[in-house]
Symmetry: D2
Subunit: 365 residues, 4 copies
């Protein structure tokens, strides 16, 4: 219980169901003096919001965030920041047919068993709608990281079904509805998604996130390791089934002589580690990959059971994304920002006064 | 800071360095009345301990755990349990040569930059020696899960370098020094490791852990999801660079019609989800895979920098495992046990009195 | 930082300033299946709300709470509960004169020094307005405690300036604007407050809270003791400067033979301990007293400094309570309810399955 | 459960029973670079330890603390610090007679009911023996506060039964076994205690603690207020039944014009607030008082019940302090140090980089 908060120093707590009155959250721990406005948060909310292309759900939400507290005369005051996003386009009627049955691959069954009851409308709290609040909170963290440390975060789609990205051009990412960084793949993606939609099926995806401009020394050695916190943040995004840091599962077949990143007076010569050594940031780019399953909300009929345990057929209606991985890009960025900000604040507490540190690799701290 | 604790309801806090006087920890939150003794914990400590085969480090440690509190007349009292393991075979002299230089691929550089100083002997706190305490604490969790819920956990080596396991026979796992569940691969593993040792290099590995006898309903929907907590626990194990639940990265190329696990009155017909739906256990086996990098402690010379930023050559001496993945098997089991116990206790708090639940799939709760 | 949450198992997080758009909070950890509606929470909000008598501030707020999530078809779902209370009657203009100076006895100076800036309107986050959210959250806890354990909580004014209550008649408490349980003191209170208001001064008060129907065994032995958590909850209420459990400061002059409460087969014969022994509830009534300072917002001119450190005169305008202790009664009840609910949930987690307990004193568990 | 930790940024976790093998703890969150040795901690351990005067228990313990980790070459490394204190003089036989009965005024009954069993030897975990670990941990905090901020903490006995201290001379405190700061009362205390011991009874006490050299700005505004955390820390000390900050319960009869501390360009003119305004330190001395009950372990026979609920007579044997308040002085100092250090680290995290602050009252920050 009490599992709706994330972060120890910079803490985000959320509330809200897919078809309730509103969703929202409280951001606690933001230092005072940070310039922030609703429009700072809106950019990423718009990137995540539904109804922006034919390849995402047809549900239309403005996703306009309101800052209710914690900001005075344009700057954070150091007190808790209340965030509110109203739900406008609920069509709960779409969901009355699933009140007494469990959509396979969804949380319907586990919620019913865990709580003895559930808000079945649109999946209730298990809906990815809740992630809008994470994106808003992450917007605050992004602004802080950029202003205070020069850290910048960008995510992108690195694979969709069989289509793998070959090159990463960050300028391309936000020019297409797929957050794809490789212009040469856009046509193939478009064709693939068109066919997929026609078939009524859905597809998995791989999403990557990178943090540039990292300081050395973020992360704790044993349990609150930077990589462990990132893994928790990413695996906690709806539909994610795998997380990698740096070379990830490729390390299984690597030798030590090949994997270890050599240090030179000019810096590291490679980044197999993905920017984390012993749970602590090395100053290199933090590189994270994650696998997102295909949504189970598809129009192809399937078999399931009802609340009494009887076998029945099911077709998922409602409005859904054929590839939930796409819209996960701004969510993953937000969660990485929240983790990094949490660790930046820890770092300050630890090293503020006791000693000064001189960077060993010039410009690395 | 204060990053040496894991778990919210069942909390494990550890201390100790590789070459200090002792390592140890405090287990807080274990309910009263659980029969436990040092010998219950020793079994897994012995599986993890160094010096048991020619393929692990030659360091010899008895790893005898002492229970200092919290157990009275053979049963837990409900108060905190103090655990102590003495370090016997420290040869700190082996490490004097790395006091002023950074082993590539190790935490030497990040510790030095984070803290401004470090206990360089054997990697200090970054050494996997600390995981012995996790194994001891996990032993308490394992005992509880078995006694109270009938949950059983077993881990195994699923891949070592190029050698993949084909079949999983749990009876085979503990009969060989590799924790390999496939008897037909033992000879190949032996040959591979012999050659590897000769070459002075190291190799990565994939380790899997499975929990059987799971109840439905463990895990929170949004942030303290069961899969997110597992991801954090596993990524927090030294050398882990990737974590998967169920089909993991295979989902990227799966379609929704293929991935979703069908529910029938007799139960699920497949387990692509790996036992977790919407962050909550489904009652199916929880299936976790992780990738462990090859250790950077190899006898092949490499390049690095010293504490003043000068380029120097380095050869790692000391006694090391050529494949750290092998001994990670009992550690991964322990961490999964700790996560599951934490969620079992949450579950009790939540559902204790408000309502009774009838299992929908017979025998599923 | 991140100091806007209270409770570990039942967690209340609040946001909002005195003169912002709204105040609100998130209640996390409430088990599913509890019947709750806005009107359940409104009763106590109305008891706390300003503008109800001539002895409280003239500010008029409806204090209508809106439940935004976590309740479905009249029952809690087990997910986080979003609460919102709009601010209607802000007259921020009243406060422009304190933007650059520090009211003595207020948090103006400490906020300015801590954060480097502050929302000065009505004291911003330091205003007791925030406590409305605690009262709403406490309403949920009160309902749960009554429904699940039969625990009932009532608070009252036990002293106002020189006027001490002689008898406690719980039926009298809510019949007068002072929450005074002694009918014979009402006239004196009325006269005292009338004179006080005329003089432009304010007065301190003592408030008591009692929980009846307590189970045995709530509280942890060492750090999360029931009495320590109560002390934290009460001292955290605006203006509180002292907290007592049971006989409180009277114990200084007591002897052991006098203080210790004798146990008999029929129960305890006295309650000097105030219902807590060794940090754990004994099943007797939990008895708590607290001292509230006189508000520093008085119309008698005083001396202070401005933001540049210059000496200046100050008269506090705005609308204020001459005795803030009075309205603290429902706040103290709410905080006690939150602490007890937190410990009830812990208790379940701990004792759910391991063993059954037979009460030693009949009817005591 | 899991209630054996205190502090969020600087976290102390303890284990151990009165008559177990050892007691100990883990201090997590201490920044690196602090010079610390066992002898730094021993001073306060010796002040607290039993057997030093005829007015404390006759149990003899060396209370020698061993630092097992987290310190390298005389300085903290930033990792967790393991502390161990062996129990030498256990005479568990003394307690066999209370295995099946409940000493009135003790935690025997509540432990038995909470856990269904208990380590009855010397009160097990409920014994004040555990506080030795708090004193050791507090020693680290004291050293840090002095070195980094110039904060100094001293506690003293301010009342014992009917004998009240008139003057506070800090030079006198450690020259007598009562920690009494008023030389003129020593004779009276001696006579009182001699008579008390003869009578076989015990007496309550009032203890005060003061922190000097405070920075402005420690503490959070709403829930993790400095005063609330202090209240929790003090009420969590064995036998404490009341806590006051500044004027404490005297405020009940004070008027606002009298209570509010006037600010001048030279600083505050009085300290009724006890150094905390709105939950945040004002830079003035933090002043805390607490009431400690008379121990229930007295040689005067009493009535109680046994584990079956039968009425029986009881005489407490074992070796006990006739006034537990005396030895609480170093414990209270340690807990105040732990709270202040926790908030110093928070403060750093919050204000490290965003803005510089200029003190308004010269020398106040």
């Amino acid at each position: 219980m009490a599992g709706n908060s994330f972060g120890k120093f910079f803490t985000v707590t959320t509330f809200g169901e897919s078809h309730g009155i509103a969703i929202g959250g409280i951001v606690d721990g933001c230092p005072p003096g940070l310039e922030i406005s609703e429009s700072d948060l809106q950019t990423d909310l718009d990137r995540r919001k539904p109804g922006t292309s034919r390849y995402t759900t047809a549900r239309r939400e403005d996703d306009e965030v309101q800052i209710l507290s914690g900001v005075f005369e344009g700057k954070t005051t150091g007190t808790s920041i209340g965030l509110l996003i109203k739900n406008n386009d609920q069509r709960s009627g779409d969901y009355s047919n699933i009140a007494d049955r469990f959509r396979p691959g969804h949380a319907d069954y586990t919620y019913q068993q865990k709580y003895g009851a559930r808000d079945y409308r649109g999946g209730g709290r298990s809906s990815a709608r809740e992630t809008a609040v994470r994106v808003a909170a992450g917007g605050i963290a992004k602004k802080f990281l950029k202003a205070e440390y020069g850290i910048e975060i960008h995510g992108y789609l690195s694979q969709l079904g069989p289509i793998k990205v070959d090159t990463v051009d960050t300028n391309v990412i936000n020019t297409n509805p797929f957050f794809c960084p490789d212009e040469s793949k856009l046509e193939a993606l478009d064709a693939y998604m068109r066919d997929l939609k026609k078939s009524g099926d859905s597809i998995g995806a791989k999403v990557s996130v990178v943090a540039k401009g990292m300081p050395v020394g973020l992360g704790e050695p044993v349990f609150d390791r930077l990589d462990a916190d990132i893994a928790s943040a990413m695996m906690g995004i709806n539909a994610v089934k795998g997380v990698e840091i740096g070379d990830g599962f490729d390390v299984v077949e690597q030798k030590g002589s090949e994997h270890r990143d050599t240090l030179t007076p000019q810096g590291f010569t490679s980044n197999h580690a993905g920017g984390v050594l012993g749970g602590i940031s090395s100053g290199q780019d933090v590189v994270v990959h994650m696998a997102l399953k295909p949504t189970s909300s598809i129009s192809i009929p399937g078999q399931t059971i009802d609340i009494s345990g009887n076998a029945i057929d099911i077709v998922t209606k409602g409005r859904h994304d054929p590839c939930v991985g796409i819209r996960a890009v701004p969510i993953a960025e937000a969660m990485l920002a929240i983790v990094l900000m949490d660790h930046c604040l820890r770092h300050r507490a630890q090293n503020g006064h006791v000693q000064s540190k001189t960077p060993i690799i010039p410009g690395s701290v």
